[in-house]
Symmetry: C2
Subunit: 353 residues, 2 copies
DNA sequence: ATGAAAGCGCTAACAG
DNA sequence: CTGTTAGCGCTTTCAT
């Protein structure tokens, strides 16, 4: 057992070569598993590697190969369960193929998103999984196109003419939610959304409205969209309720909207599902332990990650063909926050303080 | 405006040199901001850079400098708000100093933790922020020591003899929780913990117990610790209640324990705070919108990140001195899930279904 | 089967 | 002030 000085230079391939009495080229071959090396030398190399605790420098290695075994992942935020587990899955899948995943957060800023992408390009990543802040037409996607980067767009995207896309089938899910709600008798429903993600949100909304009206033409669907931030949504919602509007159910198109809705219900002393029903797009662990448990659309995170990495590596491998747009099915979990209108004990009005 | 072919090789420093009619060395100097270059050439270089859309390859650059401007961050999971925002903060701080942050998840596995660390070492990261799965004595910390890596340990750590540590002052926080609970009249309190993190959990527990007994010697503090997973904790808790134990308050030492407690309360039809009070270590966004809002100890994520990066960069900069152990103060948010025992309308027993 | 040599993209030392 | 040279750690011809 050799005890190296703590801050000693790490052994390089030449140190191994010297120690084994062969050339660096041979060491390299052995380490790549090239078969044309004399067994005896193979052994000597392995011994030397062991002795010195040698490990190849993957970055130097990639530099020479002109190809870096790095995948970049960009998400709008690290803080949510959804993107958190997305990164976990992507990391797992990248490592499975011998690549390292480098994750970064755009912090919901398109400007930053583009900067990060530029940095990933500087790093010569082999491919990028991008969950854009807004949609597939953002500056980041443009940057990727212009620079011939290979990448996959996920989550807040529909189809794209240059990149493969993978996302949850939120359109079908929204229709399913509409059905659940209408079948329970709801005829006045409020939908909450963040307008930034334009196309996706609009698609969810339209699908919801269409299905609701189709099942019950007298259904009234109100909509509150906020352009970019969640706070405007909160005040709009507050105003909406203050005006005396009393939908029997709320469908939030995104997680933080669900929190906003819950918090406004609190303010007004409304309880789910007696006073109002609530369904949120995007599930979270806590939603099943609160009382009432919150109904939610569960996105197939794992499946999205798998498909995204799958197609990404196919493109990296040189596979051609037109971009494909995959949609993975969601699950709709109707939990206790959803009931039938008018069946609650105090459905007549609020009882705040 | 030049329109390069999508997959053309990226311009290298030599391309810029050629285009500008100077040597690569000069280009490098200009780009480093070395002052001793003729203004005219500076201009020519910048023009060429602009023209070709050149950007330095940071990895190649680092290779030559024998120092990589990369910081590694290792956390047990990406899925939680706590570690999610920790990564966000660390990323921000690293970038501020011109470093890239490479984050990885150990997925609560010490074996994997060590592997990742080895990979980071292979990458020659300048420093590592490690949130160990268990504590400061794990194999990963040992690996860092043996290899002379520079790093900071955060979160599930107390002091260490080789690395600086930064964590939330959970000991003081636990004492504060004890005081809040005892002052409200609680004399039978259950503490929930995950035993893995040995020292930290024990410290929280002891501090809680000590303060509780000091304020009210007749206080009974029960403890349920699970060794490694959260499921055993769930069944232990279930058994505990099934035996007829009826503490008036529960203090969970970690987030998922809070979820487990809530879910068991649900099963038994108990409501907070009337039937039982609940305080959790670790806050989450949803805790303030549920009804009741859940009392929690808020960890100073941002502060921990700042201190960790600060000391890390000082060490990277060569600053010596003995390792320091920083403790950042928590906030204790007593929300609606905490009340006084015996004041609820149905404090006599459960009312399930 | 092996090693010398070249070179990935870059920077640092040193002459000029 | 500038360019030449050398080389970071590695892989890959290409002779031998």
């Amino acid at each position: 057992m050799v005890h190296r000085e703590a801050h000693a230079r790490r052994p390089s391939i030449h140190d191994v070569a010297n120690s084994a009495g062969v050339s660096a080229a041979t060491v390299s071959k052995v380490l790549q598993g090239v078969a044309t090396v004399k067994p005896e030398n193979v052994q000597r190399v392995f011994d030397a590697v062991e002795l010195l605790g040698y490990r190849v420098d993957p970055l130097a290695s990639d530099l020479r190969r002109a190809k870096r075994r790095i995948i970049g992942a960009i998400v709008p935020e690290f803080e949510s369960e959804f993107f958190g587990s997305m990164i976990t899955q992507l990391e797992r899948l990248a490592e499975q193929r011998g690549y390292a995943l480098v994750a970064a957060s755009s912090r919901e800023s398109e400007a930053r998103e583009k900067e990060i992408l530029a940095r990933m390009h500087d790093w010569r990543v082999s491919g990028v999984v991008l969950a854009p802040v807004r949609n597939e037409h953002g500056p980041a996607a443009g940057f990727m196109k212009k620079n011939g980067m290979t990448g996959v767009l996920i989550d807040r995207v529909l189809a794209d003419d240059a990149f493969d896309t993978v996302s949850a089938d939120s359109v079908s899910a929204s229709a399913a939610v509409a059905r659940e709600l209408v079948e329970r008798g709801h005829r006045h429903i409020l939908v909450l959304g963040l307008g930034e993600q334009a196309a996706t949100v609009r698609a969810r909304l339209e699908s919801f409205r269409e299905r609701a009206l189709q099942l019950a033409p007298d259904t009234r669907v109100d909509v509150i969209l906020s352009e970019s931030d969640v706070e405007p949504l909160r005040s709009s919602l507050r105003d909406y309720f203050a005006k005396g509007e009393r939908p029997t159910a709320v469908y939030s198109l995104f997680l933080r909207g669900t929190l906003v809705a819950l918090s406004e219900f609190r303010r007004r002393g409304w309880h789910c599902p007696n006073d109002i029903s609530l369904v949120g797009f995007d599930d979270a662990e806590w939603m099943q332990v609160t009382w009432p448990a919150i109904a939610a659309v569960v996105q197939p995170v794992r499946q999205i990650a798998i498909e995204a990495m799958d197609v990404l590596f196919r493109r990296i491998g040189g596979e051609g063909g037109p971009p494909m747009a995959r949609l993975e099915p969601c699950k709709v979990l109707m939990r206790e926050s959803v009931g039938s209108p008018g069946s609650g004990p105090h459905s007549g009005g609020g009882k705040r303080q």
